[in-house]
């Protein structure tokens, strides 16, 4: 049915059909965000030898984040008098919309994918770069000194780490010869790209942590120096959309790593094919997500000057060397 839908000529009916499916994905992602925040708090709690949320919704605090979201919905919305009102309202929307747009092209299993774009990976990189505008705009429109500095810092960090991020995936593109995420998964039939691209993977992992501005790279909102960075003046649900964008990106980035380096929905060995792709995908997804949560409770925050120098002096030359090495190896051995 979906195949027919894709082959029919596009019109209003298609629009509504895709809209309903997109809405379902949106709700799934919102559910994921709710429970990934809980998982983060639980994992961090147990790593730090405490329990984390355990009061609301049974022993595991299953309703804690739901209650948090409801509380945010009931908070008073304050727009400071000095703020640039239209820009202030626009900024969270600009920050959030691209984070959901990138999910359109991610193949979760061989059947479950929305848009099978030929330039999928480029689309992801290009659209995810747009969030920087929302953050910079939010910081500027707040007309607050902390927000301005936080916004500028976030922008500098995100654009600096974007370069190693996009360069480290070039090795994967070289080996698979395509930007389509489906083709990249199929190219990993005989071995995951993490085995062929270990340097690329490490650079990608570090740069993606910085892009998500998670610890140890959470300088944009380092509370001890900048209060809350670019969203100091935001309250209630406007603030929630900045946070939501961050966690939707976490979802998207984890899915992207699964696809690029861990073979997506494919089983690690041929004889395990009887287990459905969705199970493999979610298993790999959970392991990588756990890695991000583990990072957060293990590493101390970096210093601002070290952060920028690390991106330009170490990660970028390493990523460039990795591209050239991959190209030479490919022309010699493949």
């Amino acid at each position: 049915m979906i195949q027919e839908m894709l082959q029919s000529s596009p019109g209003w009916f298609n629009f509504i059909f895709f809209f309903i499916f997109g809405l379902v994905l949106l709700l799934v992602v919102l559910g994921f965000v709710t429970y990934s925040i809980l998982a983060e708090r639980k994992v961090m709690g147990y790593i730090q030898l405490r329990h984390g949320p355990n009061q609301l919704g049974g022993r595991f605090g299953l309703l804690q984040t739901v209650a948090d979201v409801l509380k945010l919905l009931l908070k008073e919305d304050i727009i400071p008098k000095m703020a640039d009102r239209p820009m202030f309202i626009l900024a969270p929307v600009i920050a959030f919309a691209p984070s959901f747009m990138v999910l359109a092209t991610i193949p979760f299993t061989d059947r479950f994918q929305f848009a099978d774009l030929g330039v999928g990976l480029l689309y992801y990189v290009a659209v995810s770069g747009l969030t920087v505008f929302g953050i910079l705009l939010g910081g500027w429109a707040s007309n607050n000194k902390y927000s301005l500095l936080g916004g500028a810092r976030a922008t500098a960090q995100m654009i600096s780490y974007e370069i190693p991020l996009v360069m480290s995936v070039l090795g994967v593109i070289l080996l698979s010869g395509s930007l389509n995420l489906n083709d990249i998964v199929h190219a990993q039939k005989h071995g995951w790209f993490i085995l062929l691209q270990p340097i690329g993977f490490i650079v990608f992992l570090i740069a993606s942590t910085a892009e998500l501005s998670r610890t140890p790279f959470d300088l944009p909102e380092s509370e001890s120096e900048l209060v809350a960075g670019y969203h100091t003046e935001y309250t209630g649900f406007r603030w929630a959309f900045f946070m939501l964008a961050e966690y939707v990106y976490l979802f998207a980035m984890t899915a992207l790593i699964t696809i690029l380096f861990f073979g997506g929905w494919m089983a690690p060995f041929g004889f395990l094919d009887f287990i459905p792709g969705a199970v493999w995908f979610s298993l790999k997804f959970c392991v990588i997500l756990f890695l991000y949560l583990w990072f957060r409770s293990t590493f101390p925050r970096m210093r601002a000057d070290k952060l920028m120098e690390f991106a330009w002096k170490i990660l970028m030359p390493v990523a460039l060397a990795n591209i050239m090495l991959t190209a030479i190896i490919k022309s010699l051995f493949f």
Partner: protein, 124 residues
């Protein structure tokens, strides 16, 4: 014809996702408006400055390095724009393109080394 339809439908999906991404904040903020209290006061509407009375405009001067890093970003991002198609078509282009690309990357690396020596990459 069918391929064209598939192509167009794929981008229609992208557009649908854009609409959803914009609609969710609009709907959620509208719903919130019905639920949340609204009692503005003079003190609430002032800019936060750690309890100090906010003074003069907040769009202060900040470090010029942010601008220099943005310039560097543009240079190397354009480089990756050239690297992407080369990587996709690598099988067809072969060794000649590899050597060309090595020269291209080497020239840009020279630029990076120059910036490094000029201490542009140092964050103070």
């Amino acid at each position: 014809m069918e391929l064209l339809n598939v192509y167009q439908n794929n981008y229609l999906i992208v557009f649908v996702f854009l609409c959803l991404g914009v609609l969710l904040p609009v709907v959620a903020l509208y719903l919130g408006k019905l639920l949340r209290p609204h009692k503005p006061s003079e003190a609430k509407l002032t800019t936060y400055e750690s309890g100090v009375e906010p003074f003069h405009d907040s769009r202060v001067q900040f470090n010029v390095r942010y601008y220099i890093f943005a310039l560097m970003f543009v240079i190397f991002d354009v480089e990756t724009v050239f690297l992407y198609p080369w990587a996709v078509a690598y099988d067809k282009l072969g060794v000649f393109a590899l050597i060309e690309m090595l020269i291209f990357v080497f020239l840009l690396l020279l630029g990076l080394v120059y910036a490094w020596k000029k201490k542009v990459l140092r964050w103070i």
